[in-house]
Amino acid sequence: MYAASSFLANRSFAFLYAVHESDGRPLAEWARDFGEEHDPDRFHGAAPVSTKESGLTTDGGDLTQPTVEGTTIFVGSTKGTLYAIRRDALSNTTGDALAHPATLKWTYTDPTLIGQNPRFTGPPLVYRESSLILAAANGDGGTPSDPRDDHGVLSAVRQDIGNLSWKRTLSAPLAGSPASWTADGTALHPAVFVAFGGPTLTGVASLDGGGQYLAPSPPSWVQPYPSGNQYWLGLDNQGRDIFSQLIWGSRIALLVGFLAAFFTVVLGLVVGLVAGYAGGKTESVLMRFTDVILVLPGLPLIITLTAVLGPSIWNVILVISVLGWPGIARIIRAEVLSLKERPFIDSARVTGASTNRIVFKHIAPNVMPLAFLYMTFSVSGAILTEAALSFIGLGDQTTMSWGQMLFFVENSKALSSWWWLLPPGLAITLISLAFFLVGRAFDEIVNPRLRKR
């Protein structure tokens, strides 16, 4: 265990301790002899960060709790320096020591905070997905006496060389250490949260790996305070922020909407193109199969399939795509039937284009506008289906979606609580409407007869 730091009274040394987690014995490799000047017992097991051999002079601030990642220890100081310190001794192949433990790898100071009493507040967060160190620091805004202009800075620093990747300045000082949260660990960017608080403002800021704002909190965080005007849409019956849930839900809505619509259209496009151009038996077989899928009762089958496959976002997308393509295939086929009689297809054939080339190079680009049109319509359809599935409890319970929110409303017998019911309901309505309107506008471009004179 690598543990807390301490300082000498004269502030010219900083120490890191390394002790065994089990019994607190010091780690032999780390322990140094500090000679007569210092009481060896007092610094038993500690390594000085600031010595000649480590090549560093400290800034004189107190060290925060260290964070260990791999062979590096990250630690900030209350005077504005972030240190990356070597954990292990470094030796070459012949065994000659090149560097002792606890020697410096790099330091980072925020140039904009110089002269503003910068201070790192807590142990830095290792943000593995993009090899960044997230550290919260505060500055006094130039007036040490007035707490109102104090502000916080969340910096993301490259783990290997200590360069700034991004930073976000918040209008209130930060407290403690940033935290990160991810829906299922792999699918999407994890979110980063950092608490801030000042005389006028308190809250939690959330950002994604790129430093962008997202929802104020993770969707399933139970809020520490019962209410207050920091929760825009209030809390649900478990004390979770509805506004955050709404924002997190939009991710799922768009993901399911776009992906399901995309796969639907790709399937429909291929079947329609092949059936329309090949004709004969191929067409009969493909179109009868299409008809079979088309007449299957959609929602019951989707419910059954999701129940069988298991509740996951990807299964929902799969099921929606697999059952949604027949309509598009029919439309594309009809268009191909008309296109393949057009003179330019004849001239392509005469000039020696192969069948594959005619289908995918000459016909496909001409049905693309139609495909995109139905893709926009499919987006709203897919979002609605996903919401319906989540509402009846077949959605992915580990991710927050709008349908899931409705499910919670219904499950809590709270259908009369309009402030809880309306946000997800309106969001679903609005996004479907939005895509439908986009589709209609698209339709007018693709289909000039619909254009107003």
């Binding site: 057009r342 003179p343 000039t351």
Partner: protein, 416 residues
């Protein structure tokens, strides 16, 4: 000298729900190198079908059921024997036509034997298969003891259907079509180019005009680099009078005339020997320059008068009259040609009333008996209603399909 294009008793039928459309029936004509021929007739009389049959672009329900087309000595279109026989034995007096078909087939086999694979587009297996069928038919016909005509016909029908629909027949046909499609692709466009009537829409709207011509060039000359093809397109644009800078334009940015001219450029891109043209436009002067044979398909007989050397007049799927322009215009030998000629004004001659041919061409799914023109013909006699007129050669190279061709040619027949 062998003619460049020889269309020999070509028959193209379409299968539709109502039955069979006899779109092209027994059409015969020739075209020499560098010559221009006009094929005229009303809409729906089989001009376009003839052109499509020559280039093997018939829609899937259209089949060549008789005759052949030779291009530069190679048989590029032929009906397979069983199909031809199946068609022939349907008629009441089938025996002479069958013998005629078999005779022609023998000639084909002979040519195939002599010149080998290059004489036809078909794969050798197909020819062997047909020869086996041919010997079967021959054996049946040469049977010494007198089988009755009806029985013979039934037996012929049986072996023909067995060949056409029997086990593996459709697979065989597919394989055959594939071979032919591969071989015709090498000839089409590089030797025989066709300009469609709707040349305005013959370019894919989503690609640049220049790129589409480049694509056609690269398909036929795989060794050509893109830059060379581009250069060639520039030259072609110069030739047809389009500014080189328009090479990157899309079809919708071109005027109708420019689109037609780009189509001509595309048709000329591979230096074809024969150009089948449905739009005419500026092409005539180019034709002289490039020495390309041309088949002009139009319903405007005056256009042909101006540019052609030969003319073929089609009506209801039949080639009614065929000969040199001069001959046909001065001494027409067919009532339909006379009707067509009097329906167009003359610039030089005296002013006269224009006559139109009353009525419209017959339904080709159910053509009139005898001469197909008899319901509208001013000279029609009783014989025309029942007997199909023969092809009469009224003068060397001038043929007319009419019972009274000679009389009309000599001007001794007066209409009643």
């Amino acid at each position: 000298m062998d003619p460049l294009l020889k269309v020999d008793h070509l028959k193209v039928y379409f299968k539709i729900l109502k039955g069979t459309v006899h779109a092209v029936d027994d059409v015969t004509f020739e075209l020499n190198k560098g010559e221009t021929m006009g094929l005229v007739g009303e809409s729906g009389c089989g001009k376009t079908t003839t052109a499509y049959a020559i280039t093997r672009l018939l829609p899937s329900n259209g089949r060549v059921v008789g005759g052949s087309v030779l291009f530069d000595g190679q048989e590029i279109v032929r009906s397979d024997l069983p199909t031809e026989v199946a068609e022939v034995i349907r008629k009441p007096d089938w025996r002479p036509s069958l013998m005629e078909v078999l005779r022609r087939e023998e000639a084909e086999f002979a040519a195939f034997q002599k010149a080998g694979e290059s004489a036809v587009l078909e794969a050798p297996e197909q020819m062997e298969d047909e020869y086996a069928y041919y010997t079967e038919v021959r054996g049946l016909l040469d049977r010494p003891n007198g089988t009755s005509e009806g029985e013979l016909r039934n037996e012929l029908h049986e072996i023909t259907q067995k060949n056409l629909r029997g086990f593996g027949a459709s697979r065989r046909r597919r394989r055959r079509d594939k071979v032919i499609e591969e071989r015709i692709a090498a000839i089409r466009w590089s030797k025989v180019a066709i300009i469609f009537q709707s040349a305005m829409n013959a370019f894919n709207p989503v690609y640049r005009v220049g790129d589409q011509i480049v694509e056609a060039l690269l398909t036929h000359y795989p060794d050509m680099t893109k830059a060379e093809a581009h250069q060639r397109v520039m030259e072609l644009f110069d030739l047809v009078g389009i500014d080189r800078s328009r090479i990157d334009g899309y079809p919708h940015e071109f005027s109708g005339g420019m689109r037609q001219r780009s189509m001509i450029a595309m048709a000329l891109s591979c230096n074809p020997q024969l150009l089948i043209d449905r739009i005419l436009a500026e092409i005539r002067s180019l034709q002289r320059e490039l020495n390309v044979a041309m088949m002009i398909i139009t319903h405007d007989i005056s256009v042909v008068a101006e540019v052609g050397e030969k003319i073929g007049v089609m009506y209801a799927g039949k080639l009614f009259e065929y000969g040199s322009i001069r001959e046909v215009f001065e001494k027409p030998a067919n009532p339909y040609t006379i009707g067509l000629l009097s329906a167009f004004p003359s610039i030089k001659g005296p002013r006269r009333r224009l006559h139109s041919i009353p009525g419209s061409p017959p339904d080709l799914a159910n053509p009139p008996s005898g001469c197909r023109f008899h319901p509208l013909c001013q000279f029609a006699q009783e014989v025309c209603k029942y007997v199909e007129p023969p092809m009469v050669e009224v003068a060397p190279g001038h043929r007319s399909q009419c019972h009274f061709a000679k009389e009309i040619y000599e001007g001794t027949l007066r209409g009643g």
